[in-house]
Symmetry: D2
Subunit: 338 residues, 4 copies
Amino acid sequence: MIISTKRGTPQQEIDKIIKEFEDKGLSVTLIRGTDYNVFGLVGDTTKIDEKLVAANPYVESVTRVSAPYKRANRLFHEADTVVDVNGIKIGGKEKVVVIGGPCSVEGAEQVCQIARQVKAGGGCMLRGGAYKPRTSPYAFQGLGTEGIMDMVKAREETGLPIVSELMSEDKIPEFEEYVDVVQIGARNMQNFNLLKAVGKMHKPVLLKRGLANTIEEWIMSAEYIMAGGNENVMFCERGIRTFEKYTRNTLDLSVIPILKQKSHLPVIIDPSHATGDWRLVEAMSLAAVAAGADGLIIEVHNDPEHAWSDGAQSLKPAKFAQVVEKCRAVARAVGREM
Amino acid sequence: MIISTKRGTPQQEIDKIIKEFEDKGLSVTLIRGTDYNVFGLVGDTTKIDEKLVAANPYVESVTRVSAPYKRANRLFHEADTVVDVNGIKIGGKEKVVVIGGPCSVEGAEQVCQIARQVKAGGGCMLRGGAYKPRTSPYAFQGLGTEGIMDMVKAREETGLPIVSELMSEDKIPEFEEYVDVVQIGARNMQNFNLLKAVGKMHKPVLLKRGLANTIEEWIMSAEYIMAGGNENVMFCERGIRTFEKYTRNTLDLSVIPILKQKSHLPVIIDPSHATGDWRLVEAMSLAAVAAGADGLIIEVHNDPEHAWSDGAQSLKPAKFAQVVEKCRAVARAVGREM
Amino acid sequence: MIISTKRGTPQQEIDKIIKEFEDKGLSVTLIRGTDYNVFGLVGDTTKIDEKLVAANPYVESVTRVSAPYKRANRLFHEADTVVDVNGIKIGGKEKVVVIGGPCSVEGAEQVCQIARQVKAGGGCMLRGGAYKPRTSPYAFQGLGTEGIMDMVKAREETGLPIVSELMSEDKIPEFEEYVDVVQIGARNMQNFNLLKAVGKMHKPVLLKRGLANTIEEWIMSAEYIMAGGNENVMFCERGIRTFEKYTRNTLDLSVIPILKQKSHLPVIIDPSHATGDWRLVEAMSLAAVAAGADGLIIEVHNDPEHAWSDGAQSLKPAKFAQVVEKCRAVARAVGREM
Amino acid sequence: MIISTKRGTPQQEIDKIIKEFEDKGLSVTLIRGTDYNVFGLVGDTTKIDEKLVAANPYVESVTRVSAPYKRANRLFHEADTVVDVNGIKIGGKEKVVVIGGPCSVEGAEQVCQIARQVKAGGGCMLRGGAYKPRTSPYAFQGLGTEGIMDMVKAREETGLPIVSELMSEDKIPEFEEYVDVVQIGARNMQNFNLLKAVGKMHKPVLLKRGLANTIEEWIMSAEYIMAGGNENVMFCERGIRTFEKYTRNTLDLSVIPILKQKSHLPVIIDPSHATGDWRLVEAMSLAAVAAGADGLIIEVHNDPEHAWSDGAQSLKPAKFAQVVEKCRAVARAVGREM
């Protein structure tokens, strides 16, 4: 950690600062400049709060050099984490996985039909929302437990593991029992109580990036889950909020090489929520695979115009199969199976 | 709601669209253009899902004309809502209120001392965090119930009502019993389960704006709470996330006249979290009052350099009193008491 | 164009609005709602200024249905535009092109050497800045005319056409004589005087997207150039400004399918400026080709650590050749040569 | 400047880095950490290019401690700069100034009439665009020289100095002769050639902030002008681009205390362009004055609905006078005349 103090800071204040850090077991080096003095702190600075240091009126700026995460940090865990979902391996040099399914579960028949189509089209897991975070209190909020049980039926029929979003702690027993991958949605990426609770679960977690969260904050949210004991975390990029209006969000594919460098956890891309437009899903899926994604999560619906939510971004099953086929070719071109 | 379809949409598709909306009780007008056809829908469109309409491959764009909120909408509730907190009135033409206190409660003695100073400095409510949303799992997470009880002591001593952040549903009985204003933090603005639960509470709610949420989404979150039955909602702007690096967030003061126009609920400004820098708090407080804010919520700490969180943005008590004094002059200049 | 007026707008104001538009040759349909009235305008609305319409105090909102661009619009020009640069074809189903070279020209020897390496590595054009837009007045501003002449030497030696940034109108004769593709930089995307002047030039234009410009504004800037008579415009995405701090900018690859749908002009991707980090260039290049880019523009430098600008994002020649090789495999996988 | 290198950087690379900086006359301190090494550089680092340093593959991060600007820096120029425009003083403890006028000059009669009304309403300078930066090539581009001459007439009649936007170097002689304050528009904030040219002019400059430019980049653009010899620069905030849709831009009033702290130049606020909505201008003007702005620039039009540009954000003269009157009360409340 690097701290700079303002011109004219009295020597006694400088001494006070040095003493305070040394008392915390850190080694402090002082560099005197013309307009500023700079302190370098060496040691375990993860527990030092930058904002607190900055509260000192003599302090000009505080810069963290080491990353504030440990468990999720590639520096301390060189090998890729490979997450195992009912025998399907995700991450490292494993096959690129495809997760498909409807935004919302609308009934057993619907979800079973789509599950069969997802499987036929090359998908290896089924997604489906039973608890839906909706901007409007008047919009459809999901089928709840019934929806989860509908997905369980689809799994029984097709063998596809199921991925669903958990919105609150009280459903953890239900998810622990029935769901294979627990999704934490973008709006809950910094719902720290939920993250802590999920850290105690025994199921892999798909952690979506918040709408306006930096990669560092995102890794810190993974760190929350891992600190609780659950190390099976997968990142899922689903677009960030920008000024652009032609897409719902801006898909940030640079997270793939960055996360691979900073962390050892798998990276999944969601082109459906990122763009909000099914016509853009193919191009963005191909790009994600080319950039090194470990998997894709794509919305598939048999009748998008009558979907109960997010129809505009869902692929029809035939189109889904086509996209997977094309992605497979790209995966091979970058030296990976799919 | 206005829907435009692409050039070359077959007549039969157009008829199908018209029928579908008419079946929902809406009246439909078709305007034929050269490159596009446009449909205007009249009736209660709040339940129509724009994204679903956009799923139709013949649809080019969907535009909502009426606002998707009702209870929070000034159009259907002309009079200002005035929220009553233990006799203190907020909103409408009432006095501008000042809420002061530490970011985190650090103990009974600390919070009682600050409460006395806040009161002496012109504050009429006490803020303090007992449950803290922290980016790092290794940072101080708040004193919990103990912190709430410390604030209760401060209230007993000073008479100041207390404002504190609720992070999860399981603490609702505690907040219902001890806290006077329930704060929903920025990171939970779209934690819809929490909003629904708070909608059943009997305490006024201070709803902070999410880091990257539009004003419309923010009003929709108020709508969630109001739809549950709790109409005592106050908006609290605390800065939005932008590309700027000299401030932690960008304080968006234009929300004041906009919310006053679109809604009837009170608007509070938090200059401390918005800027992240105590040196900017005075100027932004003055600006907020001049723009018509119904209140300010300001971080105050007796020893910011040793605060357990967010010291960099806390005012010392003497500075706080000075800021309130200056704000009072500005309030009077714009025709309001404080 | 769709215009909605507020509840309670007097009939006489409504009549006035209708008359005004009819006088401009537009056909007007009025849809009466409960809370709003809506007008639909049919005809050539490209010359109507939305902001002016919105100035009417009775107007609630104004929405444009047809795109404000004509020449750049796919709707009126179905076939892909293929730009010809000294015989190299860009766009449509042509080969994906690679443009390589240093950020700044540093001398004839340097640029000739890099040109040979770019060519050997699979590049088909040479980029190099002679006039540099630098944030600091104290930073190196480019070699100017000397730099252009150095590039000309490199072209003589290697046959590679040259791409360079034009920053002001007074250099147009120089660029018209010596340069093969005129680059308009991100910071000049809305320097409308420069766009008009470039519209009179006889050289293809590489139009970079502004740091915070929407796709629509970008197409409108192409429209400026085309309206002047120069139809050989290529879009170049180089990242947009967001809150993320791990990359210099956020590369928005969704522009590829969107521009292909809205416009007929070629799309080039610049992964070097977008990320600001050479370690991310490979992954982003592969992604761009997979998503359907017509070309890449990549910074190449023989000694990045001693480059006079932007070394951090430059590839060394051997790495460049490797990236091109890998991109070629991806291009083939998506049915395209490179 | 602080540089950190990666774990495992060979000693010989570290020595090389140290030598390189020492050769440039800087003093280097090395701090060895567990995971990183950190170098502190002391001396004049304004000419060191961060990006170049970052190009070294062993370098992890580069952080600038001293600001990269000198002439605009409060650190080296403690006293407030007061700009003199034909005897009107702007900045420091001088009166808060109000600049009013139409977005576009539409003719001598119009601009003279508005000038009289601006003066009567409390304005002390006249703004008016003769050269207009428009997103669409088909929109009205301004009256050009004729518009400038119309403003000159208005000045002759009212005595109000005139402010107008300069878009290209070729009009500099015209502006030098006829205009009193040269405005650099948001889209040209980083048109560095124009900034250099304006640095040679003898007229004060109103430098608008770019749509997505940081405060640091903005000060650097002022530095460009000052480095050319023209020290009479005034900052003008006009809103930044964010995700919010209810306003055209987001007015960032925190720039006022920040610029006052970092720089010594005056700060003017433009609430009209920032919000794009005349209904928000009053509240934002009051807020700006309360926050310490040295002036306001407000769009005024006698017939906004028929303005040739930007009618939606223009105040009518009577409303303008009212806003100025209210601002005066706020100015007094914060200890300033207006």
